[in-house]
């Protein structure tokens, strides 16, 4: 085989030792010392080095920096001063919008996530049937969730529901007076929930994959035994889907608790802070009020909540998630 620069490289799997040293025929001790990084077992590390550097710089460093900043009064414009747990105390005592913001975000998650998973499951079941052009439908339903970062989608959503927007125009042709979708607290948050549910595509695709993994024999046997459609669904499909449901639940929960772009672009936290999500609050305190230290403290509290909820779901999973191989893999 010919590799780079025409060197002969021996890819005989039985032969241990590094690729390069084999090629260049160097003495054994030098082989071990200089070409250690290129030993077959280490070469994987070299390949992931670009990602790893990116992770260190853009992932790990900000991660650690933010917890350090949360104990300071960093304003983004001046070097930070250490203030101890002052930020955390302020959060729980004097911050007027803290509990409101937290409540709004949790209500949003509690409503949006089950609704999203339910619609994703229903559509996945439909997509699992042998229909003509099912691939087309599958793509169509998946597209909303990949319309990146949901910024453009949020703006479109706003244009739909604004007072003189598309939805009200359509309603007016039926003689219905314009509805204040974004102006009243209850409907404003419902609109944002709706936007989240509309982007069920990624969950749907995962459900679909889970459905396809269910062995057909189980269905056949059940039908032969005379089980009705609903029985089959409750006793076979759902239990075998529980790992997928578990996965989707965790992913969607984590994602929805961090929601920012939709409320920021559509309602800007209003009316009366009924859509003032925690993510938005983080952003405002960090970038609008120059209270980056406080913002870091807020984000670490969110991290703690997400961690707690995730741990809770994991703990409970023993009782309701059924793995075919008994959960060993």
């Amino acid at each position: 085989m010919f590799g780079l620069f025409g060197c002969r490289i021996n890819f005989n799997i039985e032969e241990r030792g590094s690729i390069v040293s084999n090629t260049l025929k160097m003495p054994a001790n030098i082989k071990k010392k200089f070409y250690k990084p290129f030993r077959r077992e280490n070469i994987g590390l070299v390949y992931i080095l670009p990602w790893f550097i990116g992770f260190l710089v853009f992932g790990l460093y900000p991660f650690i920096a933010s917890i350090v900043y949360s104990f300071t009064d960093y304003t983004l414009l001046k070097p930070p001063n250490f203030v101890g747990i002052q930020n955390y105390i302020t959060m729980f005592t004097t911050d007027k919008d803290f509990y409101k913001s937290l409540t709004v975000t949790i209500i949003y998650s509690v409503v949006a996530v089950p609704c999203k998973l339910t619609s994703a499951l229903i559509i996945a079941l439909l997509m699992n049937m042998k229909l003509k052009a099912v691939n087309l439908f599958r793509t169509a339903y998946y597209i909303p969730s990949i319309l990146g970062g949901s910024v453009a989608v949020a703006i479109v959503w706003k244009a739909l529901f604004v007072n003189n927007g598309v939805i009200n125009s359509i309603l007016s042709t039926f003689g219905i007076a314009p509805v204040k979708w974004l102006g009243s607290p209850a409907s404003a948050i419902s609109i944002i929930v709706l936007l989240n549910i509309w982007q069920f595509g990624s969950s749907m695709v995962i459900f679909l994959a889970g459905l396809k993994q269910i062995p057909q024999e189980l269905y056949e046997v059940a039908r032969v035994d005379g089980a009705g459609k609903f029985r089959i669904f409750y006793k076979i499909t759902i239990p075998l889907l529980t790992p997928v449901i578990f996965f989707n639940l965790i992913m969607q929960l984590i994602h929805s608790l961090q929601e920012f772009s939709a409320p920021f672009l559509i309602t800007n936290g209003g009316p009366m802070k009924f859509t003032y999500f925690y993510g938005m609050k983080l952003y405002e305190y960090g970038f609008k009020f120059y209270k980056m230290g406080y913002s870091c403290a807020l984000s670490w509290f969110l991290f703690a909540i997400i961690l707690a909820l995730t741990a809770l779901i994991f703990r409970s999973s023993n009782s309701w998630v059924y793995y075919e191989d008994g959960g060993k893999s």
Binding site: L76, N163, G270, Y290
Partner: protein, 450 residues
Amino acid sequence: MMKKFMRVLGIVMSTVIIVGIMAACTSNNTSGNNTSGSTSASAEKKPVSIRFLWWGTDVRHKATLAVIDMYQKAFPNVTIEGEYGGFDSYQDKLTTQLAGGTAPDLMQLSFTWPIDLQKKGGFFVDLSKYPKLIDLSMFPNSLIDGFGKVGNAVVAVPTGASAYGFIVNKNLLTKAGVPLNQKWTWDGFLDAAKKVHALGGDYYFSYDNRKVDLFQKYLRPYLEARTGQNMIKDDYSLGFTRDNLVEALSYIKTLNDNKAWPPVSEVSSAASLAEDPRWINGKIASSLGVWVSSVLPSAKAIGDAADVEIFPTLANGKDTAIASQPAQDFSVNARSANIEETIKFLNYLFTDEQALKILKDTRGVPVSKKGIEVAEANKLVDPIITKCLKLGLDNSTSIPYCPISDDSEIKNAGQDVIEMMLFGKLTPNAAADEMISRYNVLLREMKAGK
């Protein structure tokens, strides 16, 4: 055979990608490099690159770019990179750049920012240290002292003068029986509101139903007219009593209850007054506190029916509370590698006749001595803007500007309380208490932090 081909293809593609990335990185480096500016007297003419950041609409962008072109032709060793866009998120972008040390050499700022940012981080050059490059006496003292001076350092110069405009639709007002060119008071405002809404359910006197505008352009001027002081004074104390605040909030509630503006729960999609169909179709009669640079587009949108009136004040108030301020400010980045060249360019914008002719009133009414001359000689400023500014300056407030009242958190707290009141969650009395308690917490923090 196929395997070999694929491998060769893979090698070629990876080489192309690597070379491409390296080329991109290198070109970024050379274009981003600021070689040091030429020193004062000698004709060294080293190539200099200046970054100039501003916001605006197309009119302003075109004019500014034309002036940049002119300057580059006159001084071929200087390259000026214009970075421009809309106002949305401009502040976020700018503060992030300032924090990260990547801010441009010359920046346009809103008049509320220079003092605040300078105190928070010392980001700007003291222009009074370069008397040979820029003569600060060409600007009116009031616009520098109040808005661009920290201690003895002058950190910002006004791009132009502005005053909050009260733009009206003459035809609609006459139809409703509201006298024009009156000496507007807040009582008269309420009167006019009732008359206009009496024309029909979708007729409103004012466009302003957003909490941001209601706080800044209704509550604050009312309060300041009543008390004759800044809403927040420079010693971080409140410039009003609880009774004052209850009076002001009750007034706003009364306006709201009399349908002076569209319901607060109605969120409009129009980006600005000039683009709102209700304004264009003559269903809305006025807007308060329109920025001078938006007066023209809003006026053009309704043509001859547009006019400006004097900003309302209190008949028996202690002060008119009609503010005039810099339209925008220009500041020079203290960390710039080309401070002197940047100041030279800044000076050019205010003293070169051709440049002034091109820039016209895109940044408010010209205020530098030369700017005023050129504007008058060439009739560069639209008469409606001149009227707007004249009304503001002739009845100007005597309260010196205090930037604390424009702090984001202060404004936010005030806006939120007004919103709660107008949605019916708080009575004016309760709202006043809520606002005062929030301000006390914020001001205590701010005082401790400074």
